[in-house]
Symmetry: C2
Subunit: 481 residues, 2 copies
């Protein structure tokens, strides 16, 4: 296929995409296929001679769509959102065509430079302390990562490297091997599983800090302080704490104003994972949730979740760029260039031109448009919360702060599991569960860009209808027994 | 922007992209900007109110293009190629619109399933041993990673986890902490810097095996065997060897038929990094370079380099899926689903629908079209090699096996550095250097999809013209001194 044919096929694809997204709510949100469904629909091997483009396009509906979970359907309420907007898609098309790899300034200066400036734009929208803004000629700045999981790991590795440096500086005789096995990192028992995985990858102890429903699932300063003291007494070296703002199960917030000073006093690297919630901090009314950022060494959230920037775009800021560069620096000759020491730039990652989509989205929505978008999702969640609260059979399981509502039928875990199963088997709406204090809880996350009040009400109608059925079945069962 | 406007803007973008790629060779391949150039061209902050789309598009030429290194220009000969094809771009558009995240089967079954089947298609094109093909119901299979660096790390972590398991199985009394500090990994001194970085991340020793020009920069079995014996004698535990097929500096090949049995005998995980060269193994005449794969535990290469699949798409196969799953498994409730134990699927990564672009590319080119593409690049490299060999002032610095030619002026490193600087300052063609046995060497990699013989000849004309000038300047300087 050459450029001339691409002009035609590309335009057809634009229409196909627009059709897909305009009509997405007619599709069952969750697919009705069994594992292995796809293999039998296509050949065992790649063709020797080219297929026609028409055949390929026809197979999108025949092979792919039956197995797609439609994340951008307004009836999708599972996990957390993943962003999808037209400006971001346009930018991605351009990024794909330019197709430069941004592993150094010289590999494509525009790529590095736009990234640095977009991270400043976004940092300013969030009112980050000046230390985190590269353009102020401070020591910090922002860098795009693929995922929040990656950012958590990168922060942990930088922290590990800093800790080892500090220990060796204070005790130059000490052998370097063996230090790692003494290091201990902390995170909430509500933290995302990627935090635990980061500890496994880095080969350090990662201790989970217990949280309580009565504390709204937030890590308590007292608990962290006690664990640090116990570990130090046992000869271990606390070095990293990953705070979560907006946990995955229930969107709970650790109190970083309280935890930050503890970390600072103990020279523990505090990383903040706000993967989902971070986008909301561009609104003045939600910005207080980020208070305490001034104590953090690094901070990360995912515009690819809730800020209309398509995957992948996870934005990470560090207080000291040199902590990151130092932890990863590698400079073989084939990566050297004339502007090597241009200290404003630091990259740990190979990637496409990801900042283009931030630029397109920020400009095409404007800060106000982005704030409106966040506010609308929060309002929809509040609307759903009111519906739940107005129904005596249900209960709300955690504070509704942003776009996530955790709720359940008053009753056993089994009843709630059955309810969720029926909801998902209906394929009209899609939700996933979480566990809170031993209870099986349903998570209702406002996800799609196009979700409106009518979708929320329709979802609630379906949920209550299925709940009715489940409860009748339970009663029948009890009568029979 | 809603779907209706996207229909219009998307089509304009398709034309913009086609125009860009059709006329790319008129642009200077390497940009003429200084670090910081971009910041002054755009506002300090995101706009409050939306900009118009026209303004955004105008800024592509004003702000972005002056700072782009044009990787898809037929005059780009730096690094290794990064793939760019129209079918892949079409698939990426679709992938962006579907915008599902593939972290589990349930998160989008089609995504998981197409990936597994595409990895089998590609595995069969490479004639991988059956163990690596998921569809044969063996224990192995393929998974897409973002980059080769990631694959190297993932393999190293799986190896570390297997090694610790094996050690604990044979000595259950042994404390788990402390094992890692005894582990030792190996790779060639020609290996990509990401291999060393993987060792740093995993917190294990990574020893570089010295290679010699006389051995064509291939790791020798004798050297590996000796290092293993010495390390074992010193109480260390060898557990991982990363072989390279097609090294970054000179496209050298480790002899895995010789190295593999050593690793197997010592229970050392052998990973094969063929990031660039791997694509060529779809041609029967280059497939012998992969002989010895039967001894490997994992194997990886980048279709996003040389197989026309746009970034990111790094394909990795493992002999035993359970080694990967075991090393990374995390299963919080919100990721559980009914088909959890569907053993054919294993993912360690969050990602978009990356297999779509493999599917589009394999079908639109067919195996033959892909083979032709590889062969053409190798022929162009051979053509360049002949031009160099025919000129007495130059020498070839390493065997030309695929699309990379390493060459230099007979003379000092300084002369060659000066030559390269002038070549790149001319901005008509772009190359990067490497170091081979202390010599500064120029790397000429055939990269763009649209490179033709006339571009190669034009590049050579420029290089010889600049070489002439450099040598005259050197002579003048000598006369003056
Ligand atoms: C709090 C939190 N952290 C991290 C993640 C993982 O994000 P990613 O998929 O970008 O790694 C999530 C995902 O939902 C999350 O909720
Ligand atoms: C041999 C080798 N391995 C690994 C890499 C890194 O590849 P990636 O950018 O996909 O991590 C390269 C890049 O050129 C390479 O040549």
């Amino acid at each position: 296929m050459e450029a001339a044919e691409f002009r035609r096929r590309g335009k057809e694809m634009v229409d196909l995409i627009a059709d897909y997204l305009e009509n997405i709510e007619q599709r069952p949100v969750y697919p009705d296929v069994e594992p292995g469904y796809l293999r039998s629909l296509i050949p065992e091997e790649a063709p020797e001679e080219p297929d026609t483009y028409e055949d390929v396009v026809k197979d999108i509906e025949r092979v792919i769509m039956p197995g797609v979970t439609h994340w951008h359907s307004p009836y999708f309420y599972a996990y957390f959102p993943t962003a999808n907007s037209f400006p971001a898609m346009l930018a991605d098309m351009l990024s794909g065509a330019i197709g430069c790899i941004g592993f150094s300034w010289a590999a494509s200066p525009a790529c590095t430079e736009l990234e640095t400036v977009m991270m400043d734009w976004l940092g300013k929208m969030l009112k980050l302390p000046e230390d985190f803004i590269a353009g102020t000629h401070g020591q910090g700045g922002g860098v795009i990562q693929g995922t929040a999981s990656e950012a958590t790991l990168v922060a942990l590795l930088a922290a590990r490297s800093r800790a080892v440096r500090m220990i060796l500086a204070s005790d130059p005789q000490r052998p370097e091997t063996g230090i790692t096995s003494k290091l201990v990192a902390y995170s909430s028992d509500q933290a995302h599983c990627s935090v635990e995985r980061a500890g496994m990858i880095a080969g350090v102890r990662m201790k989970k800090i217990p949280t309580e429903q009565s504390d709204k699932y937030a890590v308590q300063g007292e608990t962290l302080r006690r664990m640090i003291q116990e570990d130090k007494a046992a000869g271990l070296i606390p070095f990293y704490f990953c705070a979560t703002l907006g946990t995955t199960p229930s969107c709970a917030f650790d109190h970083i104003t309280e935890l930050g000073p503890i970390c600072n006093a103990e020279k523990i690297w505090m990383h903040i994972d706000a993967a989902y919630a971070g986008s909301s901090f561009i609104c003045p009314e939600f910005r207080p949730l980020l208070n305490g950022i001034e104590f953090a060494d690094s901070f990360n959230f995912n515009p690819h979740k809730w800020l209309l920037v398509n995957f992948d775009c996870s934005t990470m800021w560090v207080r000291k760029r040199s902590d990151l560069i130092g932890a990863f620096k590698m400079d073989p000759l084939y990566l050297k260039h004339d502007h090597q020491e241009s200290g404003r730039y630091f990259y740990t990652d190979n990637s496409l031109f990801r900042s283009l989509k931030m630029w397109f989205v920020f400009r095409m929505y404007g800060l106000k448009g982005l704030q409106d978008y966040i506010r609308k999702h929060v309002e929809l969640a509040k609307e759903f919360e009111s519906l739940v609260r107005a129904d005596q059979r249900f209960e709300i399981s955690a504070d509704v702060v942003l776009g996530l509502v955790c709720f359940r039928l008053k009753g056993s875990n089994e009843v709630n599991e059955t309810l969720l199963k029926r909801i998902n088997n209906g394929r009209k709406i899609h939700l996933v569960p979480c566990q809170l204090s031993g209870q099986f809880v349903l998570r209702f996350a406002v996800c799609a860009r196009t979700t409106e009040s009518r979708h929320i009400r329709e979802a609630w109608r379906l949920i209550t209808q299925l709940a009715e059925e489940v409860m009748q079945d339970v009663t029948k069962l009890k009568v029979r027994m």
